[in-house]
């Protein structure tokens, strides 16, 4: 579905991503795991079209243009950014309506909006509330619901559990499993490596802008070196 070849991203003179190759197949959950500064978020932002890059990214056989987020969204790639990207000056409903902005099928969009408010009842109940007044978990749900309303084929989730209590983190991972069960392809960027490897089909492990390991998530989770480097030891915990 998506293939990134020899991807390089620079911030000025600093190389944040250095020659990365990534493949995401339809229906998969693919994880990018690594410490702060490993380049995970940069890769997600480049794929979403927020950054200029060198190399090639193709989606469903078509080459994407760098730094063209609007086109990538229309092609079917949605990113829930790190920090949720809630529009704090808008109500919950206005945020959800922004999820429909790129869609041409306005009538179907309205039906999807109603369905989304049923799927996330708390968002329906608080639709007139300013988005800034929602709790962290509710804001994350709003960000995901808003992205889903654009009808993506590939959903990029950047640190969806960041700053959330363990119980809420579990519910976000449940939601991710639910979205995959409904046929959505997901790229998950996370620092919570253990939980992420349990949820993912395959994973790429990153260090300082390079992929240092990749493969089926189960194999990586059982790998001793990966365990010591990325998971903090004690395999199978």
């Amino acid at each position: 579905m998506l293939e990134a070849r020899n991807l390089h991203v620079h911030y000025g003179s600093i190389a944040a991503v250095r020659g990365v190759d990534i493949v995401i197949n339809a229906g998969e959950i693919v994880a990018l795991i690594g410490a702060n500064g490993a380049g995970k978020t940069t890769i997600a932002r480049a794929i979403a079209g927020l950054l200029p890059y060198r190399g090639e990214i193709s989606f469903e056989g078509r080459l994407l243009k760098p730094n063209s987020a609007e086109h990538n969204l229309r092609a079917g790639i949605a990113l829930v950014p790190e920090g949720r990207g809630i529009l704090a000056g808008m109500t919950v409903e206005e945020n959800l309506l922004m999820g429909l902005y790129s869609r041409r099928d306005k009538a179907a969009g309205k039906a999807d909006l109603a369905e989304m408010q049923e799927r996330f009842p708390i968002l329906g109940q608080r639709r007139d509330r300013m988005a800034s007044l929602l709790s962290g978990g509710e804001q994350q749900m709003l960000a995901i619901a808003r992205a889903l309303l654009s009808k993506p084929k590939l959903l990029l989730l950047d640190e969806p559990s960041l700053g959330l209590a363990p119980k809420l983190t579990d519910s976000i991972f449940d939601l991710i499993a639910d979205m995959r069960a409904k046929g959505l392809t997901i790229m998950l960027v996370e620092q919570k490596a253990r939980q992420t490897l349990r949820a993912a089909d395959r994973a790429y492990l990153l260090e300082t802008g390079r992929i240092v390991r990749s493969g089926p998530a189960q194999d990586l989770a059982a790998d001793k070196i990966v365990d010591e480097t990325f998971l903090g030891g004690s395999v199978g915990r």
């Binding site: 979403a48 079209g49 927020l50 987020a69 609007e70 969204l73 229309r74 949605a78 990113l79 950014p81 990207g85 529009l87 704090a88 000056g89 808008m90 206005e94 309506l97 922004m98 999820g99 902005y101 790129s102 800034s132 808003r146 654009s150």
Partner: protein
């Protein structure tokens, strides 16, 4: 006397509000002070004047002025802003300053530097309520301002284009992720600001002043003061600050003399900058989400 001055102040404040909204729209969305807005206002006055001289009805003259200024705003966006979008913030501001001087020059060459003035016959008549006398023109200025602000509020708050505008104002990257073309929204902000400035120009040209190529400078600076006093982070601050400054200015002239008029307006601006830099309605930096 006091009531009469209040009405006069509200009329002047209505025009300040329109121009300040024009500045705020671009400032709120792009964080750039478009100094050529003062000249969009001046051109609006000339466009309206030309339309009225051509025997067009007043509403047509108003619309013509708004459209004319909006077209010039598009030219400013394409030439003076868009190529410099990623430059340091002072660069597009300076290019709009250069553009404003060019527009003054163009106006001088097209309409001449002699002051032009419409006669009272354009819209005669007065309404007397007790001791207060309101001219039909004053009613038109206030009525048109209220209508334009209501339309702008509807567009910004209730339409997909307005939501896109607010989204770009709050977070350009997030807006792009939601499919908003930042370039198109930027253009919309310039067009709306041109419409507001053009309307203000034709209204003030008909009501108050003589029309000259330099009429935008003084009123443009006052509108910037109104924007600062209302709060540069929230465009609706102009709705409070516009009438406030209009009334303060008229009262100062009536009771203190015209020689201290500007002292009061700009003194108030400096006071606000010192005591409440975010303006009367402005939120803190962390509340930038509510800019527009």
């Amino acid at each position: 006397m006091l009531l009469q001055q209040l009405v006069n102040g509200l009329t002047l404040g209505a025009v300040y509000t329109l121009i300040a909204l024009s500045f705020s729209l671009v400032m709120g969305i792009l964080g750039v002070l478009n100094l050529a807005i003062a000249e969009l206002f001046m051109l609006g006055a000339y466009f309206g004047f030309t339309a009225i001289l051509a025997q067009l009805p007043l509403p047509v003259a108003l619309v013509a002025a708004m459209l004319g200024s909006a077209l010039v705003a598009i030219v400013i966006q394409k030439i003076a802003y868009e190529p410099l979008r990623d430059a340091p913030i002072v660069t597009p501001m300076l290019s709009t300053l250069g553009f404003s001087i060019i527009l003054q020059n163009v106006a001088t060459n097209v309409w001449g530097s002699d002051p032009l003035q419409l006669t009272d016959e354009v819209l005669p008549g007065r309404l007397t309520l007790g001791s207060v006398s309101i001219s039909t023109m004053q009613l038109l200025v206030m009525g048109a301002t209220v209508a334009l602000v209501a339309i702008l509020a509807f567009v910004v708050q209730k339409t997909p284009a307005g939501r896109a505008l607010r989204a770009v104002a709050e977070n350009r990257d997030v807006a792009r992720l939601l499919g908003v073309s930042a370039a198109r929204v930027t253009l919309l902000a310039f067009v709306l600001s041109g419409v507001m400035a053009g309307a203000a120009g034709v209204l003030i040209g008909m009501h108050y002043a003589v029309i000259t190529p330099y009429m935008g400078v003084d009123i443009g600076l006052k509108a910037i003061a109104v924007m600062v006093i209302g709060g540069t982070t929230r465009i609706w601050g102009a709705l409070v600050a516009g009438p406030l400054i209009g009334i303060a200015e008229v009262m100062t002239v009536a009771y203190g003399g015209s020689q201290v008029r500007d002292f009061v307006v700009y003194g108030l601006m400096i006071l606000i900058l010192l005591l409440r830099p975010q303006g009367i309605l402005g939120g803190s930096r962390s509340e930038q989400g509510q800019r527009v």
